[in-house]
């Protein structure tokens, strides 16, 4: 008994020592479970990167370190090879060490110039010329609006790089006064340029990650600062992705609510029925009716709509409108008699003005 206790104790001690030496817990840093999907990991990184960026936390002395940890965690967990290695051997087990600068990872999600906090200094200096902005329409399905998604995009853009020699820049028209004789002057227009270091445009490529956030609305934009067109004398413009939600064959979106239609048979409308509607993420919405369902009847399913963009925990409703499929062929005399017997209804034949709501 004693040796068993001792060995368990030793194992526990070894494990604890191992856990300490093994390095950082990347899953904890990102706040995701070990079974997290790549999408969850990207989403967690993007949210935390905005919160933990040192520019946003000037008073926190550990901000830089926390931000580095976050970058390291994302770099490992977003790569399936590295993640496998990490899961088995811990941080120590990662062979080639994480070399890529955190700036690279951050710019995948937010663009070259990152995210300027504290009042966008870019816009303040109007003297610096800017390249054009590019707006790209991004088609998005309702399934993606419901569950969120990340779209990977390769941006190939011309970048201004130093080149040998000089070039003319800041060319402008100036008025020159020349004296033709005593008391006679002439004003001419002249093009005057400065000399600047030479610049050439080189094509560079990088991957960007565009997040489709759950509940996103048509027309919303996701900017990537500095990823637009370059300007040889100034700064590059921005790249903006504009969300365009495409039509869905089954659901119609109105705000956070979803609308759909179901056709039922005449028998089902009279005696009741049960059915399932498959939702955007595959889960089933169960409908069970034992009362009579008239054509045009609406069923309200709270919480089965789309998540609200500002608070994903609030969901809109799913509104189902029923219509009834009447038999196409004429009923035989026998069936007609049978129906009259079963339903025992007298004739109604009420005439009224249906267009004025009486």
């Amino acid at each position: 008994m004693a040796p068993q206790n001792l060995s368990t104790f030793c194992l526990l001690l070894l494990y604890l020592i191992g856990a300490v030496i093994a390095g950082r817990d990347f899953y904890k840093i990102l706040g995701v479970p070990r079974s997290a999907s790549i999408k969850d990991i990207k989403k967690a990184y993007r949210k935390l990167a905005l919160q933990l960026h040192p520019d946003r936390n000037p008073d926190d002395p550990q901000a830089q370190e926390k931000f580095q940890d976050l970058g390291a965690a994302y770099e490992v967990l977003s790569d399936s090879e590295k993640r496998k290695q990490y899961d088995t051997y811990g941080e120590e087990g990662l062979k080639d060490g994480h070399q890529s600068s955190h700036g690279d990872i951050f710019s995948h999600f937010f663009g070259d110039f990152g995210f300027m906090f504290g009042g966008t200094p870019r816009q303040q200096d109007r003297n610096i010329p800017r390249g054009s902005d590019i707006i790209v329409d991004l088609e998005v399905t309702l399934e993606e609006v419901y569950a969120g998604n990340f779209v990977e995009v390769v941006r190939n853009k011309p970048v201004a790089r130093q080149a040998p020699g000089k070039r003319k820049c800041n060319c402008r028209q100036e008025m020159r006064t020349t004296q033709l004789g005593p008391g006679r002057f002439q004003m001419t227009q002249e093009v005057v340029c400065d000399e600047c270091p030479n610049v050439k445009l080189v094509n560079e490529e990088r991957t960007l990650e565009v997040e489709i956030e759950p509940g996103v609305r048509d027309g919303m934009e996701y900017p990537f600062i500095g990823e637009g067109e370059p300007h040889v004398d100034g700064e590059p413009g921005d790249l903006r992705f504009r969300i365009k939600v495409v039509k869905h064959p089954i659901f119609e979106r109105r705000g956070d609510d979803l609308y759909t239609n179901v056709t039922i048979s005449l028998v089902e409308s009279l005696v009741g029925f049960e059915m399932d509607i498959t939702h955007l993420d595959g889960h089933k919405v169960h409908i069970s009716r034992d009362k009579i369902t008239r054509p045009g009847a609406k069923l309200w399913k709270k919480g089965e709509g789309l998540p609200n963009f500002d608070n994903n925990n609030i969901k809109g409703s799913l509104i189902i409108t029923f219509d009834v499929d009447f038999p196409k062929e004429q009923l035989t005399e026998e069936v007609r008699e049978g129906i009259k017997q079963l339903l025992k209804q007298g004739s109604v034949q009420k005439v009224y003005n249906g267009l004025q709501g009486y």
Binding site: D133, I134, E139, V153, T207
Partner: protein, 221 residues
């Protein structure tokens, strides 16, 4: 299993051959990141004349009087961006690689008009006029162009041709240049035959990576 001795040198060769046969496509494995997909925005470079397909809010002074399409030498003009879309609404979902032989529309990003051609003569060379037509991406049947390339899909590195579905001409540049107000820009027109003047290559752009799910496979030729 294998008898030792004779054939010792041949064995690894045979094994290698067997493996090469088993690997599908034999080495031409595409990572998928190099394919042009629907929804991508890009600039097209005419490989022979080194100009990019371009449009702007300037109309032709002759022919149809529609918005003009030209070739420019600059690589940093935002007016050279075109968006690749399927031939019909929903016909090519975001991220579907464009197949060789597929009909696409090229929508000019900044003006919302589609690359278009019709039976009007081009102003400088008397070939077929190529214009930009439509409103907010909605034009008509003369906006369809077939991507002609070798292989299965349009690869970013490949030089491809664009053949008009309605009139069968190829999108071309032969070097004629405009004067004022678009001095130095080249004429872009349609020509009946495939030659060195009508190959184009995807250059700068925002390329949507091919999506993982198989495309809905809508064939709209």
């Amino acid at each position: 299993m294998w008898s030792a001795g004779r054939g010792g040198a041949a064995r690894p060769v045979l094994l290698g051959l067997l493996l090469a046969l088993l690997v599908p496509g034999g080495g031409a494995a595409k990572t998928g990141a190099e394919l042009v997909t629907c929804g991508s925005v890009l600039k097209l470079l005419n490989t022979h004349h080194r100009v990019r397909l371009h449009s702007h809010d300037i109309k032709y002074g002759s022919g149809s009087g529609q918005q003009s399409v030209t070739g420019v030498e600059a690589s940093d003009d935002a007016n050279s961006y075109w968006r690749i879309r399927g031939g019909s609404e929903g016909g090519c979902p975001r991220g579907s690689p464009v197949r060789c032989g597929q009909a696409v529309r090229l929508t000019h990003v900044l003006t919302g008009k589609n690359l278009h051609t019709h039976h009007f003569p081009s102003p400088l060379s008397n070939n077929q006029e190529v214009s930009a037509f439509g409103e907010d991406g909605q034009g008509d049947d003369l906006d369809l162009w077939t991507v002609r390339c070798s292989g299965q899909h349009w690869e970013r590195e490949a030089a491809v041709r664009f053949q008009h579905v309605g009139t069968s001409v190829f999108l071309s540049v032969t070097g004629e240049q405009y004067g004022s107000p678009i001095r130095g820009q080249h004429e872009v027109h349609g020509m009946p035959s495939a030659n060195t003047h009508n190959t184009w290559k995807a250059m700068e752009g925002i390329f949507i990576k091919p999506s993982v799910e198989p495309s809905a496979g809508h064939d709209e030729l």
